[in-house]
């Protein structure tokens, strides 16, 4: 007691709370060191690296086919998209034209991945805000997509279904029927998401005007994906640098201008609708053909630097490969969307309350292995 009265400097002392690595709201092992003033967050210092596995180093000792299964483990929620980035890079470098069928299937699986990822984000976001039921509804619907994946690719999460030049296997005969079934099912369930959470006055109050990110800041911080598009950053790789079959489909790039947590939320929910639209356009038109082109058993990229970008569920995923003409890449770098998105968290969260920080973290939809690599 005496101590408190006499020591005036105690007021200046920072109240530091560690959020993570073992914390319910970080969705992984991310540590946020927060300086508090009462309930208000003054400064956020992210500490990452708790699951740094040195994937980039490992890639230097692996052939291009073998790299693919490591990209699964970056952003495990958009595993297929990450695989595709490496495959596209190899195909573009060797100037191999993959069959149309492969392009279509890849795009369909991409969008299914995106849907599954956004569903998981939705349930986790609800849970961050304290609505625990959303978690089960989201997972329930995600289960259907995972079943589709499992039937065709053999794995639910880490599919490794892409190979340079095509796909591991042809799609399962049930695939088309199941996807269609899923679309009709999910078109009924998605409005429920809105009823339960989107329209909810508590959610609106909790997220509106929280964690504002202007367009300039979004570009400057490199915040991509739905988080960036909520700020008006037209960064959809699918739209601006189309790959696979994205140039054949009609879809809207969801853009908002406000850039608060609510619009980051909204952008993702709307993207789910768009994803379903893309699926509907593609699913009936998968052309006949081979599921892969014949590749040499040992792939050697010509000397040079390559960069391939794809739109993963959380933003722009890029692969940079420096090849010296060997069968192993000289240097591989993954431009992971979450890494850049995380860097904006101090800008977003400072000045808000702890509860808002959780909402902001949820609305950024961070996947920690993608940050740590």
């Amino acid at each position: 007691m005496e101590n408190i009265i006499t020591n005036n400097s105690i007021q200046q002392e920072e109240y530091i709370v560690n959020m993570g690595p073992q914390h319910p709201s970080t969705h992984g092992v991310l540590r946020l060191k927060i300086s508090l003033k009462g309930e208000t967050v003054e400064n956020i210092e992210p500490h990452c690296g708790y699951i740094h596995r040195g994937i980039e180093k490992m890639c230097e000792r692996l052939t291009y086919q073998q790299i693919i299964h490591l990209t699964d483990r970056l952003d495990y929620l958009s595993a297929h998209t990450n695989n595709e980035a490496v495959c596209l890079l190899v195909e573009n470098a060797l100037q191999i034209e993959v069959p149309e069928r492969v392009k279509y299937i890849r795009t369909i699986l991409d969008e299914l991945t995106r849907l599954a990822s956004h569903q998981l984000w939705w349930c986790a976001f609800g849970m961050d805000l304290g609505a625990l039921t959303t978690y089960f509804y989201g997972l329930r619907d995600r289960e259907k997509i995972l079943d589709i994946f499992e039937e065709t690719t053999g794995a639910r999460l880490l599919q490794s279904f892409n190979v340079p030049g095509g796909l591991m296997n042809d799609i399962h005969p049930n695939f088309i029927g199941r996807v269609k079934e899923f679309i009709t099912y999910f078109r009924k369930k998605l409005p429920e998401y809105d009823e339960l959470l989107t329209g909810n006055v508590i959610l609106k109050e909790r997220t509106t005007d929280i964690g504002l990110l202007t367009l300039e800041e979004a570009i400057n911080y490199g915040v991509t994906g739905p988080s960036g598009r909520a700020s008006g950053f037209a960064c959809d790789v699918r739209k601006h640098h189309p790959y696979s079959a994205y140039d054949k489909v009609e879809f809207k790039e969801i853009l908002y201008t406000k850039g608060d947590s609510f619009h980051r939320y909204k952008a993702r929910v709307e993207e789910m609708w768009e994803s379903m639209k893309i699926l509907e356009q593609l699913i009936d038109n998968i052309p006949e053909g081979d599921y892969a082109v014949k590749m040499k058993p040992i792939i050697k990229l010509p000397e040079g630097e390559y960069y391939q970008r794809v739109e993963a569920a959380r933003g722009e995923f890029g692969v940079y490969v420096l090849s010296t003409g060997e069968k192993y890449p000289y240097r591989v770098k993954f431009r992971s969307p979450n890494f850049s998105n995380l860097s904006a968290i101090n800008k977003l969260g400072a000045g808000h309350k702890i509860a808002d920080l959780v909402a902001i973290g949820g609305s950024l939809d961070l996947v920690i292995p993608d940050i740590d690599r």
């Binding site: 002392e13 709370v17 540590r31």
Partner: protein, 116 residues
């Protein structure tokens, strides 16, 4: 039973908790580990003191609470006789409420109801 027997309930509750605590501190197996009794902070050693001067914005709310809670206590006796008190009780309480309502309105306009 009369109201003195409230003490009985007090004793039963104390016995319930105390008994369980004693049981639980004697019977279950124990293991020692220096990390175990660290305060939980997501697996990171706590930085700085926990018991600092802590800035919480509810000082104003506490004062408001005092005002209104005392008022609630005043209201209870009035509420009991409202049925029999008739128009006089009603008019009196209207006056009482007007004063209080103005107080609330004042606090509202002074932005005292916003948590900082």
């Amino acid at each position: 039973m009369n109201s003195e027997s409230l003490i009985l309930f007090f004793i039963v509750a104390v016995v319930l908790v105390g008994g369980a605590l004693i049981f639980s501190s004697l019977v279950p197996p124990k293991s020692f580990n220096p990390q175990k009794s660290e305060p939980y902070e997501c697996g990171i050693p706590t930085q700085g003191k926990t018991w600092l001067q802590f800035n919480v914005g509810y000082y104003l709310f506490a004062i408001l609470f005092l005002i209104f809670d005392v008022e609630t206590v005043f209201l209870f006796p009035w509420a009991v006789i409202m049925k029999t008190g008739g128009i006089a009780a009603f008019v009196e309480i209207i006056i009482f409420f007007t004063i209080l309502g103005l107080g609330l309105l004042y606090a509202w306009k002074k932005r005292a109801l916003i948590w900082e």
